[in-house]
């Protein structure tokens, strides 16, 4: 079954209560044919476990690695992925869209 955003936020809370380091990634803007709508979430723990999606699988790897840094230093990060962006080209938003993702620590 697909995880709904509600499951993801509940999981984020449960993970923090278990004592895990947790970050929440949220799609804040999309342009063109982005695969997941604004407001979509990905929850990540310090070990790199994650639930949900911000792009349907294209850039999750990059978001997870940034999220681990966010868990470490507690600083908000704004990530942008799109075909015009070299990093994103490597991780590949093949749909041709662009997305902006906010990553924040939950604690």
């Amino acid at each position: 079954m697909l995880s709904t955003d509600s499951d993801i936020l509940t999981t984020a809370e449960a993970w923090v209560r278990e004592g895990r380091g947790v970050a929440l990634a949220t799609v804040t803007e999309t342009w063109g044919s982005a695969p997941r709508p604004v407001g979509s979430h990905l929850v990540i723990d310090a070990e790199g476990n994650f639930l949900g999606s911000v792009s349907g699988g294209c850039v999750e790897g990059a978001v997870v690695s940034e999220a681990i840094d966010v868990i470490g230093d507690g600083k908000l990060r704004m990530l942008e992925f799109g075909v015009a962006d070299e990093t994103a080209w490597q991780v590949g938003l093949s749909c041709g869209g662009r997305i902006r993702v906010l990553v924040e620590r939950v604690s």
Binding site: T4, V16, G39
Partner: protein, 240 residues
């Protein structure tokens, strides 16, 4: 995000109440706005009030500018609930479709031979008459109601409750003839034309559905088209 804020957000979601999480993108400062507080101070005087009202109306998240600050509004509206009268064959076919679409399905049927867990594993079943059942399942703005029993004794009280509620979708199974009789009964019960035209009948998108699964598909297709009415209208608009 603070854990207390996330916890408050999850409490609102679990209670099926809408809320908006407002994040200042530069500082990361956050606050949670509850729909229930929208008509009270201090929110009524909040400069962001018109934007928040529109967010609750559309259910859409997005970024806005206020006093030179970029704010991200993450709008949390409850998951759509699908309330059905009739634990019938079409309802069984609705189960996997509702699950895939994240619709919270509730099936009401006082006939226990129909409303059995064997026929509806893992589904919220209420084997009671609609009046009693609907006390446990309030019909709100985020609810679609579907009458499927063909039996006015069961369908009509639930349909009347749905028409008195803010359900965003009301559908009733039956031929045009069946529906004409239903309209007569509803008129006798005091419902006007505005109420009656809310009922989708014949129910479902016109895909020539024959089997129970096809009818279920046409019903959920119609529910999605109402949920996404703005997108449907945008796609139908001529390209200039």
């Amino acid at each position: 995000m603070k854990l207390t804020l996330l916890s408050a957000l999850n409490t609102e979601r679990a209670a099926r109440r809408a809320c908006v999480l407002v994040t200042e993108l530069d500082s990361g400062a956050q606050r949670l706005v509850l729909e229930n507080d929208m008509l009270r101070e201090p929110l009524v005087s909040d400069p962001l009030w018109p934007v928040l009202r529109e967010s609750f109306r559309s259910g859409k998240s997005g970024t806005v500018e206020q006093d030179g600050k970029a704010l991200f509004l993450n709008v949390q509206v409850p998951p759509v609930k699908l309330v059905v009268t009739g634990a019938v064959h079409i309802s069984q076919a609705l189960v996997p479709m509702a699950r895939e679409l994240s619709l919270d399905l509730v099936v009401i049927d006082p006939r226990t031979a129909f409303a059995s867990p064997e026929r509806f594993p893992g589904v919220r079943l209420i084997a009671e008459w609609p009046d009693a059942a609907l006390e446990q399942v309030p019909l709100d703005h985020y609810t679609a109601f579907v009458a499927l029993t063909h039996d006015p004794k069961i369908d009509d009280p639930a349909l009347e409750a749905a028409l008195r509620s803010e359900c965003f979708y009301v559908g009733a199974l039956g031929s045009r003839k069946t529906h004409a009789r239903r309209i007569e009964r509803l008129q006798a019960a005091g419902f006007g034309a505005d109420d009656i035209t809310r009922i989708r009948a014949p129910i479902g998108l016109n895909i020539g559905a024959v089997s129970p699964a096809e009818i279920a598909l046409s019903i959920v297709g119609e529910i999605v088209s109402v949920m996404r009415a703005e997108r449907v209208a945008a796609k139908a608009a001529p390209v200039s």
